[in-house]
Symmetry: C2
Subunit: 193 residues, 2 copies
DNA sequence: GCGGGATCTTGACACTGACAAGATACGGTG
DNA sequence: CACCGTATCTTGTCAGTGTCAAGATCCCGC
């Protein structure tokens, strides 16, 4: 599985994996195709064949992220609070992916693969809100209201995750992710304490 | 005020201003000191005298951002909803600053100036939550609860702003920022419609 | 009016992303 | 098995960038 002379065998995945390490440690700005090639033990231009250019690599990286997010959200079913907790857990568990996914300047957001994976995630979120609100979304007014509710739920989960990752929060949340996330996200769904 | 032969006169501010343009258009990753120098009409190494290195420039840029955020939050007083709206309005009105401020890998987050400006912003946010909850924060349990409430409020405002900027939201919010923000942020403070 | 420090320039070096052309390995076809 | 086409990887090159070092120019206080 390694040490082939010429062909690496699984270079594409190796590069994506190395990218997660680098971005997680030093941020997306410090990412270098040549550094990834070095880590994978191939020549400096090898990545180009698989991804075309840097944006191509990050596009694949973002797609991988959205796919994993949708997978991480699935077990939560349609329980809104659990969806939020799963969202936060994904962000803190895959900081590099999360970081890239929401910076459109880094990759080609219109890429079909990315769009499909992103749609899966959005649908998982929407399902949770629909269920919590009773499920009747027939008339326009209620539909508009539903969208606001989805955005609100997504916002608080996304914002909490972002603030955690950016180190802006006054520590605390470090150890017990789920509990802290629940305490914050619970504010939205009703239970105040 | 311009066209000096050797001395630019206000290079530092000109560079920060140019940085806002570039980052706003092409993202922080596309920022180039040489490009900034070109836009300011100075030589390629001129920025170094004012900022030392790229991280130095972005540190100054982030500090400017936090200072402007604190200023933008001040008029909202201690009205929690208005604070949230002001926060979102700042983010959408200063996308470049907002984008840099919350990516610690880009600059020196420990810089004294940055820390001070950030503290001002945090205090403005906390004030709003304290007032909405009645003001009694004496005993420990309630204090802990207060912190959760601050984080929740900050999270939803920050998350909504981030999602808007990342283009992840299904359009809509574009035209009427204040209304859309109010509809979303209102979910947290109680009024459901 | 002059000296010193702040401001800017010029020149250089290593590193990066991208391109082009060539080398090597793999898989199917005869 | 021999062969060829293609996917994969390499080597070489170029412009652009960040950073450093040394020098030029300007402004202010004395």
């Amino acid at each position: 599985m390694a040490e082939h002379g010429y062909h690496h065998g699984a270079l594409r995945q190796a590069l994506l994996s190395a990218a997660a390490d680098v971005i997680g440690e030093h941020g997306a700005g410090a990412l270098s195709l040549r550094e990834l090639a070095r880590r994978a033990g191939v020549s400096h231009a090898a990545p180009q064949h698989h991804f075309g250019d840097k944006a191509g690599l990050l596009t694949a990286f973002a797609e991988e992220g959205f796919a994993r997010l949708a997978d991480a959200l699935a077990p939560a079913g349609d329980d809104l609070l659990e969806l939020g907790v799963a969202y936060v857990r994904f962000a803190l568990g895959h900081p590099a992916h999360f970081q890239v996914m929401f910076v459109p300047a880094l990759y080609r957001t219109g890429d079909p693969g990315v769009a499909a994976a992103r749609k899966r995630s959005w649908e998982a979120l929407t399902r949770g809100v629909e269920r919590q609100r009773g499920g009747d979304t027939a008339d326009g007014a209620r539909k508009h209201d539903l969208e606001d509710a989805v955005v609100a739920a997504w916002s608080i989960a996304h914002g909490y995750a972002s603030l955690c990752l950016s180190g802006a929060l006054p520590a605390g949340a470090a150890g017990d992710v789920d509990r802290a996330a629940r305490a914050v996200l619970g504010r939205l769904t009703g239970q105040p304490g």
